[in-house]
Amino acid sequence: MSLPAIIYLMPPSPTEIDTNPHYPELRRAVRQLCARFPSEYWRRLDAQRAYPVEFVETMTAAGFLGALIPEAYGGGGATLAEASVILEEINRSGGNAGVCHAQMYVMGALVRHGSDEQKERWLPPLAEGELRLQAFGVTEPTAGSDTTRIQTRAVRDGDEYIITGQKIWTSRAEYSDLMLLLARTTPLEAVKKRTEGLSLFLVDLRGADERALTIRPLETMINHHTTEIFFDGLRVPAANRIGGEGMGFRYILDGMNAERILIAAESIGDGGWFIERAVAYANERIVFDRPIGQNQGVQFPIAQAYTHLRAADLMRWHAAELFDGGKSCGAEANMAKMLAADAAWEAANVCLQTHGGFGFAREHDVERKFREAKLYQIAPVSNNLVLSYLAQHVLGLPRSY
């Protein structure tokens, strides 16, 4: 049974995405879903430090979190620009994409560097949402931003590796089935370059030996479900190593551009939310017989924050376009992340300031979003490290660290 000739589906047109960077239908769809999870929902979770199970399930079922998985493995085959719109809209709606963003991009290492067998095994259930891979263990208490100094060791023992060490700030580990782990396979002393000798593993957290793996939640100023993880001889099959032994650092660098651009989009979403709230309040709050927004002292900072936000957004689209075009975009991705995080923070500050005392009231959500927006100046990479990267790699200044 086929439909007559006047009704036909044209083959995909690859240029469509570039010419329409704003994706109204996609935005609307994400907004519609997010509307089912209003501010009260996020406020309650924040107060209870609870995980937004229903929200994440809804986003998963609609295929949004599997967007970046290639279509061949049952995913959405999205461009990074499209994926970034999804996260942006979550934050724009007052929610917090940080609770699930990693499900979207942590699997990037698997897509780019996994063997066919590994991809066949893990990507389809990830795309289906049957499997969660949204924990990424890089940061350690002693190494900080100096990733090559991590001390978690993975020692080969037959068909397995034995993992010993500690990670900190590993977010969502309690809500993830698998975790991507960076560990040293060759000691620092034994490698020529510090970036060598690190390897990437997919660790199955389900039913892991409790004596060898301890996950301890960390209390933080935001509801981010972050943890400390202790490895005490955890055995991981060698088949779970992604790519070549000792190549892990290169692999995570590969994934960073995507992560930076997606985080930039989240900050852009936050910034939009703050500006909208600030404007609404500035128009409605009457003090000294006039809306406070009539005072330049109130409206200028909002206009300024808006300008910075829009400028940051341009860098985000530029970086995404380069990424989707397969071009190198390290500088642009880093700049986008930094500009957007700073713009969101400026907007957050302006929004809170505009609300005066009411900005502190939980029921306005401003203080919650304010706390949440701060994170992206520090994680996944601190803005100072972005600057030192730009100084060294783009401007040719001496390495500062």
Partner: protein, 261 residues
């Protein structure tokens, strides 16, 4: 048997009150345009029928040139194909002319495997006329069922459906082909999935214009004036009281005084 679903692109209901007279007159609405919410039930039902009976589905929408967001939404939800009809074919005509254009389109679609079922939402949030589907049935000479709450079965060239009426419900059987308007009780429209949105974004939707549809619009009515009532003065009263009972008593008294209850 194929299923066609009629969809209209309407202003987002939240933004409807903002539409000005000038905008309505020129058709250049500033509001966000979305699929008419009532039509989402019809689209959902069409997709459901295609799962149940293996039929193909096509969404048809008449509107301004390039106004295909509602069709894209229907595609993203899961209909197989979409056709856009340029509203200039009816030259500013009324509901009757709209029905004529849609019926003519349905006849064109109807060249391969027959469209034997047309689904429509029960009204549009902007036009509110609830007569388009009746006009289409009339032009096509098909049966019409309105306010359908369930399509029970399609068997032996007949369709069995449940229909709601004031205070009750009836089960009816009609021979195909038939035009149906659906009630919101019929289903819960799905949200478009990411895959659906991607698929829809890649589709080029064909547009039919005056050259394709040989109709001579036969409007009998024309707008002579368009007006927007002034918003009513609304009073807000907040009832103070020591207990819930006390506040409710005051509220009930006030409602009775205003003859609301």
């Amino acid at each position: 048997m194929n299923v066609a679903v009629l969809v209209k692109q309407t202003p987002d209901t939240a933004e409807l009150p903002k539409v000005t007279v000038a905008e309505a007159q020129s058709g250049e609405l500033q509001a966000t345009m979305v699929i008419n919410p009532w039509d989402e039930f019809a689209v959902e039902e069409a997709i459901d029928l295609s799962d149940r009976f293996g039929c193909e589905t096509v969404a048809i929408s008449m509107g301004r040139e390039g106004e295909t967001d509602a069709l894209k939404h229907a595609l993203a939800m899961g209909v197989d194909a979409a056709v856009h009809v340029d509203e200039r074919v009816i030259d500013g005509g009324d509901e009757w002319a709209t029905a004529e254009a849609l019926a003519a389109t349905l006849k064109m679609v109807d060249t391969g495997d027959q469209v034997e079922l047309v689904l429509a939402g029960k009204m549009s949030v902007d036009g509110n006329s609830s007569v388009i589907y009746a006009g289409v049935a009339c032009m096509l000479g098909w049966d019409l069922l309105v306010n359908v709450t369930r399509i029970v079965d399609i068997v032996d060239g007949k369709l069995i459906a449940e229909q709601a009426f004031e205070g009750g419900q009836e089960t009816v059987e009609v021979p195909l082909p038939v035009v149906i308007s659906v009630a919101k009780e019929i289903n819960e429209p799905r949200y478009p999935s990411f895959m659906g949105i991607r698929k829809a974004s890649r589709v080029t939707i064909p547009t039919l214009g005056s050259d394709d549809l040989e109709i001579r619009p036969s409007s009998t009515t024309r707008w002579t004036d368009l007006d927007k009532p002034e918003p009513e003065d609304v009073q807000v009263r907040i009832f103070d009281g020591a207990s819930v009972e006390e506040k409710v008593t005051q509220l009930a008294d006030a409602l009775m005084a205003e003859k609301v209850i």
